[in-house]
Symmetry: C2
Subunit: 235 residues, 2 copies
């Protein structure tokens, strides 16, 4: 496997790199025909390739070998979060979460949300570059932003948690979660969930959890929740 | 405890807020004499105060109550890291690590380091604001940047780990670390430690660990290592 990784979801069908990847390959890295490169489809497969046509917009490659590399965690790990007002905080969370491993990002609009919409394209670019940088072959999913209600009413086959700061009966996530369980965890906006949202979630099978005693920023709480699940599954 | 927290390491002696805190209190938050504020000394104590003199550069307060709040983790947790080239990545790591909890940051110069120096002042500001934001009363320590040799030769009373990407015998940190142990963990630069550095560390009592299978950026590895320790101590 060569050191630079490229992303092409359609590599198996068209043997081609998308425009941005082609540009990076030819204009930035100056790859020449015959050079070896590795391409992932973002669906669990690495393709050992050689460059055939070093076209700056549509590189053509030849596939020499296929290496299946499923994700490194055994469960489905979904995080639904209220994007923060400062876009860069959402961006770093998405980068870091992709590096440590997550299956699905579910941005949601909450009662106290300061940000009601989200540009997906830039976040997708960050996910792709974080996947490549961390040498993974699976790209997480990013759903369009949806309402809190949609999120809690969507069926999920696994444990469902809501992390909030209200003084209700809460278990520490690290203590209640059991290795091997699928997880959907909800993280609220800067101003937390509304009490009504917490009730709705509880009535829909979500368990209240805390992530420790320190008050965490939204994006920190998201990352902490994901990594807590990874650690338990790693024990 | 009022919602806005201020930092004054000398509050007990001089009943005064430092210049930046005074400015924030008077010019930004428009606090008036008589208003209640909470101040921490960064050494484990919250002071319930009222504003006496709303001076924009040296606020004077009166102390009405004292609340001791030790840190929320039971061990000494030190991270020695090679600062990344991009300063913003160091800044967010310091912010996030302060939020989730750390006792000491030890920046170090390694063989493959792309950054040989570090402006401490800005990182200290970030630590203070993260401590206040996460409602803690203990400010982590940030040592001046030192050489790799100094770091591994400094005595430490606890487990000493080095996280690297070489194919040597390594334990997953989550599996080898035991609840209650003090920890010093070393995280290398973008280009990893040199093989010699790994040998030196091993000869000085550092155990080689991995942080999972994904290749993590330096700043992500730092945060993942710290949170792994927190999760184990939380079980």
């Amino acid at each position: 496997m060569s050191d630079t990784l490229f992303y092409s979801p359609t590599i198996e069908q068209d043997r081609m790199l998308p425009e941005t990847e082609s540009h990076h390959c030819v204009k930035v890295l100056r790859k020449q025909p015959g050079d070896a490169i590795t391409v992932t489809d973002g669906q669990g497969v690495f393709y050992d390739c050689s460059l055939v046509d070093a076209h700056p917009k549509k590189c053509m490659v030849q596939i020499h070998g296929i290496l299946k590399q499923p994700k490194s965690w055994p469960i489905r790990l979904h995080v639904a979060f209220a994007p923060t007002k400062q876009m860069e905080r959402n961006e770093w969370f998405v980068e870091k979460a992709t590096e440590i491993g997550v299956d699905k990002f579910v941005p949601m609009r909450c009662g106290f949300s300061e940000r009601k919409d989200l540009k997906q394209e830039r976040l997708n670019k960050i996910m792709v570059s974080a996947m490549k940088q961390s040498k993974q072959a699976v790209l997480p999913q990013l759903t369009p932003i949806s309402s809190f209600e949609e999120v809690i009413l969507t069926p999920f086959d696994g444990r469902k948690f809501i992390a909030h700061c209200y003084e209700t009966e809460k278990q520490p996530l690290a203590q209640t979660y059991r290795k091997g369980e699928n997880v959907l965890v909800l993280i609220g906006p800067e101003g937390d969930f509304t009490p009504e949202e917490v009730n709705q979630a509880t009535q829909n099978g979500f368990e209240s959890v805390n992530l420790g005693t320190n008050r965490l920023r939204t994006e920190t709480a998201c990352l902490v929740a994901l990594h807590t699940i990874h650690v338990i599954n790693h024990l």
